[in-house]
């Protein structure tokens, strides 16, 4: 149970996208959705988005800034950047190994 709480669960994927989106600078919810739609084509829904934001905020990976009007921008923290780097490293490994194996498969 405790271990499960520590994981991001079904929100791991949106979390990665949010972190990637915030890496370019602070954004509020709608800007994040637009940004994610533009850079990877995934249309996040508000429910998923905010579930992921709440989790990331609780883990200290992102930070809420002062709200402007009603919208509140978020910013990535040091720990968040670290986590993003690690995840990207893993993804890179997956990509390179996948390509390698595909190449091997096409050779044989």
């Amino acid at each position: 149970m405790y271990k499960k709480q520590d994981e991001l669960g079904r929100f791991s994927d949106p979390s990665l996208l949010i972190l990637a989106s915030l890496a370019s600078g602070p954004k509020h919810g709608y800007a994040m959705m637009e940004d994610i739609l533009q850079f990877c084509g995934t249309k996040l829904e508000p429910g998923t988005l905010y579930a992921a934001i709440a989790r990331l905020e609780r883990r200290g990976w992102i930070d809420a800034l002062e709200a402007e009007d009603r919208r509140r921008p978020y910013r990535i923290t040091g720990a968040g950047e670290q986590a993003l780097r690690e995840q990207i490293k893993t993804l890179h490994r997956v990509v390179s190994i996948g390509q390698q194996r595909l190449a091997q498969a096409s050779q044989t």
Partner: protein, 580 residues
């Protein structure tokens, strides 16, 4: 998660605006901003603009010149023109429809409101933190069925999260509100249990001594109860309770008036005012000395004093007129169609009530109806309805009583203190009634088998009423203690101003407050006999006048309060200056 194919046509709003502006003439970023603001009245933030520009340039839909000028001039490319055409075709199929049918637009608004309402499903702590931004997001977002489902899943997820379950306790003000709701429910429960009790009282007065031993014992016991000290104590306690509850309700009225920011909010005063007036009526009929003048001539004593009031209880026209007042008031206030529809609903209610009273006046139908009251299913249905009334009324009262937005002002705190004082008084009165009826119940307990024997029906009601009374007192006490503790906690915590948008409930639900009041008066007065239509002519106009005057007075108070609130910061500034 499956990645969706990016739809070429689906451009974001800024991108579309930029493209359509650039179609007219090439422009630089600042010029674009101004042009969009002039044409559409929209302010695009520089960050959004340049993100969209970069994105469009990346796609090759626009191109910027590479001149050395400080501002890059962008122009539309051929693919960009094509994309804009596609997007316009896509949006044209939607836009004219919006113009043709305001109803469609209205439906869309309703959907947005429904989706925003869905945020209620989230835990309180979550809403306090995220609701505002979520609403802002949802208003911009293109809503689909999947959005609704996703929100539902998100709410479920947040509910299952142990983090938010613990956090709920950090909201003292909301808990305070809940306490007040509990208190109101308790008082109402007590009133209803009193109704059950008064029925027994009635049986005793009317019970005939037919000559056989058992019935004479019964009549004697009941007579003794009626004349006993217990009834006097009960009368005094009822007096005390009403004395406490009425100012309590008046405080409530003042509170609503002070909180009202729009005239429409003042509408809420009317149900409460109605309740107060009806309570006053009951008080006038039932308090000593005339109500308990003597055991034998009790009913006669009342008839001498109050000829007009009895007719009310037997006259559907009175209730019809009361509802008509409400109707007229609502019609006057109606600024939107929705409000008007509400008035129509009340009109239907009036018609139904009049029909019901017509049914009641026909003797056979009345007999049939009273036989219904002896069936268990009808009785349970009736009780369930009463319970629903209690819950709704308590809810509206609780919501009205504590507002999260501006509770910190001094007069609100003062009112809260005052309200608690009255609540204490009310509880004292309730305890008094309970003790008095308890003494009666001991007598009655011996008589119950006899009652059963004479098949008077509903013999279980008096004990049930008594149990309900005790339960109500316990609940009221707990609620009062809780509210005291929570008020203290709320005033010591510094950051109790909640960002949570309080959903003001101005709906039909508030009018439910009238139903228990009407039922209360009706049952209280039915036992007193039938008289001419004297009060019919006098009371309704008085009532209308009274409630309108009350509403106007409260409005005046509100205006003054608003003026004072405006002056307050000034005086604070002055104080600071003087201090320096």
């Amino acid at each position: 998660m499956p990645y969706q194919q990016h739809r070429q046509r689906n451009l974001s709003q800024p991108a579309l605006l930029i493209l359509s502006t650039l179609k007219q003439r090439p422009s630089h970023g600042v010029g674009l901003c101004e042009a969009i603001q002039q044409m559409e009245g929209l302010v695009i933030e520089p960050a959004t603009l340049y993100r969209a520009l970069a994105h469009l340039e990346q796609r090759g839909w626009i191109e910027g010149d590479d001149a050395e000028a400080p501002l890059r001039v962008y122009r539309l490319t051929a693919p960009g023109r094509l994309a804009l055409g596609h997007a316009e075709v896509g949006s044209h199929s939607e836009q004219p429809r919006e113009r043709w049918h305001p109803l469609l637009q209205r439906g869309k608004e309703l959907i947005v409101r429904f989706v925003i309402w869905m945020l209620c499903l989230y835990p309180l702590a979550w809403r306090e933190r995220y609701e505002q931004e979520m609403i802002a997001l949802l208003e911009q977002h293109e809503l689909t069925l999947w959005t609704v489902l996703d929100l539902f899943l998100g709410a479920l997820d947040a509910r299952l999260d142990p983090h938010y379950r613990r956090k709920r306790q950090l909201l003292p003000l909301l808990r305070l509100q809940v306490s007040w709701k509990w208190f109101f429910s308790a008082v109402l429960l007590f009133c209803f249990s009193l109704l059950f009790w008064s029925d027994t009282d009635m049986w005793g007065a009317d019970f005939p001594c037919n000559g056989d031993a058992a019935s004479c014992t019964l009549a004697h016991t009941m007579g003794v109860y009626n004349a006993s000290l217990a009834s006097t104590i009960e009368g005094i306690a009822v007096f005390l309770m009403c004395l406490a509850i009425l100012p309590f309700l008046l405080v409530l009225l003042g509170w609503i008036g002070l909180q009202a920011r729009r005239t429409r909010d003042l509408l809420r005063i009317l149900p409460v005012a109605l309740f107060v007036l009806l309570c006053l009526l009951v008080l006038y009929v039932s308090i000593p000395p005339w109500a308990y003048a003597g055991s034998a001539g009790r009913a006669d004593g009342r008839t001498v004093w109050l000829p007009g009031l009895y007719s009310l209880s037997h006259n559907g026209w009175f209730y019809g007129l009361v509802l008509c007042t409400v109707l007229g008031w609502m019609g006057l206030q109606a600024k939107r169609t929705r409000t008007f529809l509400r008035a129509v609903a009340v009109a239907l209610l009036v018609v139904l009530c009049l029909l019901a009273f017509y049914v009641f006046t026909t003797r056979e139908l009345a007999a049939w109806l009273s036989s219904l009251f002896h069936t268990w299913w009808f009785m349970s249905l009736f009780l369930a309805m009463l319970l629903a009334c209690v819950v709704l009324m308590a809810e509206s009262a609780g919501t009205m009583f504590i507002s999260l937005s501006n509770w910190q002002k001094r007069h609100h705190l003062f009112l809260a203190t005052l309200a608690r004082l009255f609540a204490l008084l009310a509880i004292a009165g309730m305890v008094g009634v309970c003790i008095a009826t308890g003494a009666g119940l001991v007598d009655l307990w011996n008589v119950l088998p006899l009652l059963n024997e004479f098949s008077l029906g509903m013999w279980f009601l008096p004990p049930l009423g008594f149990i309900m009374m005790v339960a109500a007192i316990v609940i009221a006490c707990v609620a009062l203690v809780r509210s005291t503790l929570q008020l203290r906690a709320a005033s010591t915590t510094s950051d109790n101003t909640s960002a949570l948008l309080l959903r003001e409930r101005t709906g039909l639900k508030n009018w439910i407050i009238v139903l228990p009041a009407v039922a209360f008066v009706y049952i209280e007065l039915t036992s007193l006999g039938d008289f001419g239509p004297f009060g019919l002519l006098l009371i309704p106009p008085l009532f209308v006048l009274g409630s309108v005057l009350l509403a106007l007075a409260v409005k005046q108070l509100r205006v003054k309060g608003a003026a004072l609130a405006k002056q307050e910061p000034l005086s604070q500034v002055q104080q600071v200056h003087e201090h320096n």
